[in-house]
Amino acid sequence: MARDKEYNRREFINRGARFTLGLSLAGVGVAAAVNAGSEKYLWQIDPFKCTQCGRCATDCVLSPSAVKCVHAYDICGYCDLCGGYFKPGVTDLDTGAEKQLCPAAAIERKFIEEPYFEYIIDEELCIGCAKCVKGCSAFGNGSLHLQIRHDICVNCNECSIARVCPSDAISRVPASEPYMIKGDFTANESGEAGA
């Protein structure tokens, strides 16, 4: 009688374990199927909300940050005196290192025709500090702005920059529309006042 009882308990545990395992596998399968059908989301910065606080450079889990400066060329004025390239107060407009605003020298100034210059971001060097974005927004027309580069971003479950962003500029966006580039993306879509 005691053996029967012991046998039944073991069998009960075995069956229970098999059932739980089966249920888990089925659950994973269903979840995978549901995920396959739904859209993936990625973190991105709304350039019209960004206040250039510098935390994209200091709080990303990656080093250097996955946040980079991007340039909306169709907005850019190709200015000789570029507020995103030169330190405030510079009067001799040349490419001397001491005159550059970017702490990583990540912006290339290229002559186009008198008096127009093109500004190209070297993303390998850019640390996402937004200093140039601030200068361009304050003294230019805001063509330089920050974006999270998805070829670098590891898409953390909770973005460590979003957690500390003082202007709530970082949110999840559909993977089908992963970037908010100025020009294509306007202040009206953002719901914020334009730059």
Partner: protein, 320 residues
């Protein structure tokens, strides 16, 4: 006894973990983080030597119930064109007229014949009593009209979108246009990176156009020949900062210019050759990184500034 010690240690570890999590969260709150190591510093340029400030703010007139778009001064009256509204007030702030118009104006010019109101790509003409008279056709695509000024039988229009000045007669017929290139080697056409592109006509009917990309004021004939210019590019108080300043100008009876800059907002007066005469209002009088106020000036040198950030007309008078 052994179990009790074990329980105590487990509770202690859990408490320590909770404390670390709470501290981490509270330390990382956006409002509790430290200074930005990459701060863009230009505070030194916001300070202005008080001996340079020759004006003081004496009063202001709030603009209520609508969004203002442009300001002009004619016949000792302030003419304000705003969203759906044309309002006229005396220099003492008493309303003389308020009438309905359609759209959001960007510029206004009043002369002895009519009121011309510019919108993004077209102009509407009204009588001085506010009656709609005519709407002129848009002269093409990409127009962004930012300023109007009349001289005799002509109305000059600054088109920032196409970097050109249009010349109409007062009936709306397009008589000509120019892009400021002229034949001078010193000039290079109008460089207009943003929608800041102003022009004025002085008491001698001379047309002055801002070339914002060069921080220049340029004098043109009616046909668009460059006659002279001066520049003042600098973040210091003597010059114009950024890529697109001065954003607005007005001209005084003696030919001096009142200038208004955006972002590091400041209002100053230059003589007709570009020497800084005085500062009307330093940056600390305005919102940080604010819009450039539209400025007009009366025959006594009193400056009226339409502050778009605060929806108020601010009056600056000379220090006694």
């Amino acid at each position: 006894m052994k179990n009790k010690s074990l329980s105590f240690i487990v509770v202690l570890i859990i408490a320590a973990i909770i404390v670390v999590i709470v501290l981490d969260y509270s330390a990382k709150r956006p409002d509790r983080l430290g200074d930005n190591p990459y701060e863009y510093q230009f505070d030194e340029y916001k300070e202005v030597d008080t001996s340079l400030i020759g004006y003081r703010e004496t009063k202001n007139f709030p603009v209520r119930d609508y969004k203002p778009g442009a300001l002009d001064l004619y016949d000792n009256l302030l003419w304000i064109a705003g969203e759906q509204v044309l309002q006229v007030i005396s220099l003492a702030g008493v309303q003389q007229m308020k009438t309905e118009i359609q759209g959001l104006p960007t510029c206004i010019e009043v002369n002895d014949q009519a009121v011309f109101i510019g919108f993004e790509d077209h102009i509407k003409k009204y009588s001085r009593e506010g009656t709609f008279l005519a709407e002129w056709d848009s002269p093409g695509s990409k127009c962004v009209f930012t300023s109007l000024a009349s001289a005799g039988e002509f109305l000059f229009v600054a088109d920032a979108g196409n970097r050109r000045v249009l010349r109409y007669n007062l009936e709306g017929e397009l008589m000509g246009q120019f892009e400021g290139k002229a034949e001078s080697s010193a000039g290079h056409g109008f460089i207009v990176p943003s929608a800041s592109f102003d022009l004025v006509v002085n008491s001698y009917d001379e047309l002055w156009v801002v070339n914002p990309g060069r921080h220049a004021l340029e004098n043109y004939t009616n046909e668009g020949q460059l006659r002279g210019f001066w520049t003042a590019g600098s973040m210091n108080i003597e010059g114009f900062s950024g890529c697109c300043n001065p954003a607005h100008i007005a001209v005084m009876e003696d030919g001096s210019f009142v200038t208004s800059e955006k972002h590091m907002v400041r209002i100053k007066i230059y003589d007709s050759s570009g020497e800084l005469k005085t500062v009307v209002a330093p940056p600390r009088k305005f919102l940080e990184e604010g819009q450039a106020p539209e400025v007009v000036v009366d025959e006594n040198g009193v400056v009226y500034a339409l502050d778009f950030d605060r929806n108020v007309i601010r009056i600056f008078e000379k220090n006694r």
